[in-house]
Symmetry: C2
Subunit: 297 residues, 2 copies
């Protein structure tokens, strides 16, 4: 049975691309009455059969729920879609999961406030497939009250994490975590290639590599504390020792016909840390090369 | 009470540097009678008070236990220490956690076989602090029988993972995982700096970042399967889309005075993947740039 009423739903989702569709499905799966709207109506059909209410217009979708989630291609589209229906946002919470810059987020938060709406900027960090599962990280920033009020519904998306009152935080984390993920992936592809050259199947290597990541994550926690303290104890080896080991990895990679891009980058960073006088310090001193831009090559 | 007899212990540890000491402590903590030896006797004192038996010589240490674990500065020292006492290894299992190359491991396995000993080459992947805990990864390769026989004792070290019969596998994984960890750490330091430029404290960023790593690890598993299949579906976005996003990250980093080394490396890798015709493929196509050495710059 599908819901026939437009009012009384818990959440409205505007924008039914790949991500928006998954968001609506996750809200429905979590048992929340969900209104959906898309510029092209056809994308809502499958969701309606899954129990969603189709709004006739963006304006109807906005007023249907106290929580309005938009996930559109870009901020220009957000302005096009919400601009004409802004009056309907008064007293509601707008959660904007559209990808954008910190400036976009701050500007849109101001716009929402001007129309009497609470605002949360957000980013989906874990792709579309995991949406609704505990591993799916959504970062949200802006109104603390709005997050507290809608926390239970937002939890239907997965791990909905509130970052703070500055709406710019979500896009900042979005961008930073994107770079972090790619650093790890580049390291993985190099490592898998090196293991592959020794006859190790990618899946076999991945099984061990993923088991190693909790330790790597624990180093991140340690390094964060050291960055904050401005002190770099050598509990996990000195910069000088790691430099030598990384130079060895460049040679080993080269000898096996594997791209040396990743270990050469790391070697460069470590050598710059040595040049800055951190050779005898712990490896988190590499933050002095990356963080300040001083060692940028 | 300390054990007075040299025979009858479960495991002997030769080499009591920082790691060797932690290994012996972990065996003792797991309830295994442990014999210890170090070239300089003083390092054994603390372990003896913790219940270890001190061997008078390397030869005594070797014959004291069916399982002989060595952790020495390098393979030259292994040869110096074990060469004169090789006869004592007959019928025992030698586990060598000394850092070295795949060639070192294969040569030493052959040497051990020549003296009637089973051999496992190994590497401690998680530093010294975690030894004895489940997160401490030890990779081991060589005799499957020996691993099965001593699995229960080796489990006292942490997550003792058997990789396969080729003794070279442990140093191969050691080297590969070292590069992987550094890729992730470089990504983390860049990301923490970028978040820091927006006023986010390192520990706050690390808390969210480490929560994101299980997702990143799941991407590694996906990518491994795609590498094996030689097909790169775009479930997590195309190379072209990620290239544009990474170029944006370079600009954002630069605008905030943050080192652009990491995002520029990733941009280079992605652009090379585009140049190889993978622009519309999924991001795991970057393996074609790193894996084959073809895109090495």
């Amino acid at each position: 049975m599908t819901h026939e009423k437009h009012d009384g739903s818990a959440v409205s989702v505007l924008g039914l691309g790949q991500m928006g569709t998954r968001l609506a499905q996750a809200f429905l799966a979590a048992g929340h009455a969900t209104t959906v709207w898309n510029r092209g109506a056809v994308k809502a059909d499958a969701l309606v059969t899954q129990g969603a209410v189709r709004a006739r217009s963006a304006g109807d979708a906005v007023v249907a729920s106290p929580l309005v989630v938009v996930c559109l291609p870009d901020y220009a589209t957000v302005a096009e879609v919400l601009g004409p229906v802004a009056a309907g946002l008064r007293g509601r919470t707008l959660v904007n999961l559209t990808s954008g810059t910190p400036e976009d987020a701050v500007r849109t938060a101001g716009w929402a406030a001007g129309h009497g709406a609470d605002y949360l900027d957000g980013a989906a960090m874990s792709g579309t497939r995991l949406v609704g599962r505990a591993e799916a990280l959504f970062v949200l920033s802006g109104s603390a009250d709005a997050f507290a009020r809608h926390r239970a519904v937002l939890a239907g998306l997965g791990n909905a994490t509130y970052l703070g009152a500055d709406p710019a935080l979500a896009p900042v984390y979005d961008t930073a975590l994107f770079g972090l993920a790619w650093g790890a992936l580049a390291g993985f592809h190099h490592a898998a290639a090196l293991a592959g050259a020794a006859g190790v199947a990618p899946a076999d290597f991945a099984a061990v590599a993923t088991g190693h990541m909790p330790f790597v994550a624990s180093l991140m926690t340690d390094h964060a504390r050291q960055i904050a303290d401005g002190r770099f104890p050598d509990d996990d080896g000195t910069v000088a020792v790691h430099t030598a080991a990384m130079e060895h990895l460049v040679e080993t990679s080269s000898a096996h016909g594997i791209g040396t891009q990743v270990p050469r980058l790391i070697t460069d960073l470590l050598e710059q840390a040595v040049a800055l006088g951190h050779g005898a310090d712990g490896i988190a001193a590499v933050s002095r090369v990356i963080g300040g831009g001083e060692g940028d090559v």
